[in-house]
């Protein structure tokens, strides 16, 4: 069974998924970060594949992408770093990135590599669902890799229902009309949107992402979904004063509250 399904079957609440950029802060930090996140008790990990032009990302993740690329990170080297990752963690692992590097790598070859490495899902914000279904769905199925869909406050209800009906794993619920980045609390219109989606009685579990930065926003997000995804604010913590291990554990402790 896909580890993402296993997670959502065994845990319905307070799921914490952490995004970080592979090869950041240092090229060889990828595996250590995964191991420490596992020890710190997160539920799922999203490994960012850095891209030169991350248009859906705010300044913090833009900079981590830049840094990772200047550290020499590539998809090829990432798969090398992850070759033995399944010896150290059983958490669901997701690769997140933009379509161009994946397209250049070769979509089928990429998915085959994912399967061999033990990757469970992919998030590619700029691969539209329509293109996915037309050209790539077969490959995702062949290698049993889940393509995670996004919904945003801009997504009409009938489309949310449609995406729910074809979704595997979970729906990535973008909390606001914004690029990635941390905020301190949710406003009224975000809460209204969370409630609206809650009322649609979707079959697919949901995680809320974009703008979650502290225990308060994490708890709030968990009230309206199965859990939440944190990226920018974790990336900022990785730049903290401690060792990599200390930075990871301190951050997760604060989020869990």
């Amino acid at each position: 069974m896909n580890r993402i399904d296993k997670l959502f079957q065994s845990k319905k609440q307070n799921i914490l998924s952490i995004y970080f950029t592979a090869g950041f802060p240092a090229f060889n930090d990828t595996l250590t970060t995964i191991q420490e996140l596992d020890k710190a008790g997160v539920d799922m990990i999203e490994i960012g594949m850095p891209f030169s032009d991350p248009v859906a990302d705010g300044p913090v993740i833009q900079r981590s992408n830049e840094k990772a690329l200047s550290n020499g990170m590539t998809i090829k080297l990432l798969f090398k770093q992850l070759a033995w990752v399944r010896e150290t963690t059983d958490l669901p692992l997701i690769l997140m990135g933009y379509i161009n590097p994946v397209f250049r790598f070769g979509v089928e070859k990429f998915l085959h590599k994912c399967q061999k490495t033990g990757i469970d899902g992919i998030i590619i914000p700029d691969l539209p669902v329509e293109e996915y279904r037309l050209s790539y769905e077969l490959f995702f199925e062949k290698y049993n890799i889940y393509n995670i869909f996004l919904i945003s406050p801009q997504t009409p209800d009938d489309r949310i229902t449609y995406l729910d009906s074809i979704s595997k794993g979970f729906l990535y619920m973008v909390s606001t009309a914004a690029t990635t980045g941390a905020i301190n609390n949710f406003n009224e219109s975000q809460i209204t949107y969370f409630e609206k989606v809650n009322d649609l009685s979707l079959k697919t579990p949901r995680l809320i992402g974009f703008g979650i930065s502290n225990n308060e926003t994490f708890v709030q997000a968990c009230n309206f979904a199965n859990g939440a995804i944190i990226g920018s604010s974790f990336i900022r913590a990785l730049d903290g004063n401690g060792t990599l291990t200390e930075n990871v554990h301190e951050f997760i402790r604060k989020i869990r509250g």
Partner: protein, 394 residues
Amino acid sequence: MNETFTADKNGYYGEFGGAFVPEMLRLNVESLRAVYHQIIESDEFQKEYSGLLKNYAGRPSPLFLANRLSDKYGTKIYLKREDLNHTGSHKINNTIGQILLARNMGKTRIIAETGAGQHGVATATVCALMGLDCVVYMGEIDMVRQEPNVKKMEMLGAKVVPVRSGNKTLKDAANEALRDWICNPVNTFYIIGSVVGPHPYPDLVARFQSVISEELLTQLREAEGTEDPGYILACVGGGSNAAGIFYHYINRKNVRLIGVEAAGEGINTGFTAATIAMGEIGIIHGSKTLVMQNEDGQITEPYSISAGLDYPGVGPIHAWLARTGRADYLNVTDEEALSAAYEITRLEGIIPALESAHALAAIGKLNLKKNDIVVVNISGRGDKDMQAYHEANT
């Protein structure tokens, strides 16, 4: 091979095009796609659009027989004078069209990216005309090298936002404009400046620029008794002035269409913006097209002396015209463009934009005969480039 050169319903020209946008932008792009045909084909829109082109932008732009330049190359060269348009380039044809669309869709805030600043000025201009808020994203490097246009945009009431990511040029400005759109999806319309971006933009912009070739048909018939020249030359950044002057000739196979890219310091130097020459298929700014990129699929930083051509992608229509062989794409270096600019200035008294100078520099690369008719699109005027021209001469 499929030989249609208009976008299909999903915005594809052959294998190029499409709309690779994140879910956060889907509604915006989709709602534009759903209405643009109906709006721009309506009589009301057409009446207002052509009225503004005539009385505000100053169209039709003249077709000028360049006698001394013709003598020099031993052929007959006409210049399509887009430089004489209001705001100094072809960009106004597109911004008038898109601002009318934006108003029709009830949008109140306009954003744009700009490289040379010509699209930024043309956008700021129509925003002033319509009383809409305007934010223009411009790479910091471009703000320095095209400084007169920054001042114009500011005088026109636009907010010019310096972009400091990447190479601080056109690609980065477009990234930032897309990010703005993600953050302001409800009230904001993104006026894209070339035949790039997600469907329907490439088709939309090509239609608005097609007025260039529509006029050319009539003007050549009057001047030469034939609508068809032997050659049409235009520079290609994203490819909008080229798409506009090619548009009505695409199915007239006896007319040779020639796009001219910026080679920068030379296509094999690593300092170039010649995407068709050096790019591979990929996805940039929502469109599947040729992209300059490395082995890992990272988009590489382009280089050209001309800010308007300094872009690592190209409109999907050009990727397709190149792939099918319907159009040929040449490239010229910074140096060749600079000397072509001096040449036409001294021979014809016309100071062209650096972008347009690239098209002129390609004349010498063709095997032209005395009876050939060559039309070169002078996409813009050189006011903004005086500093570069001055430096080149000293």
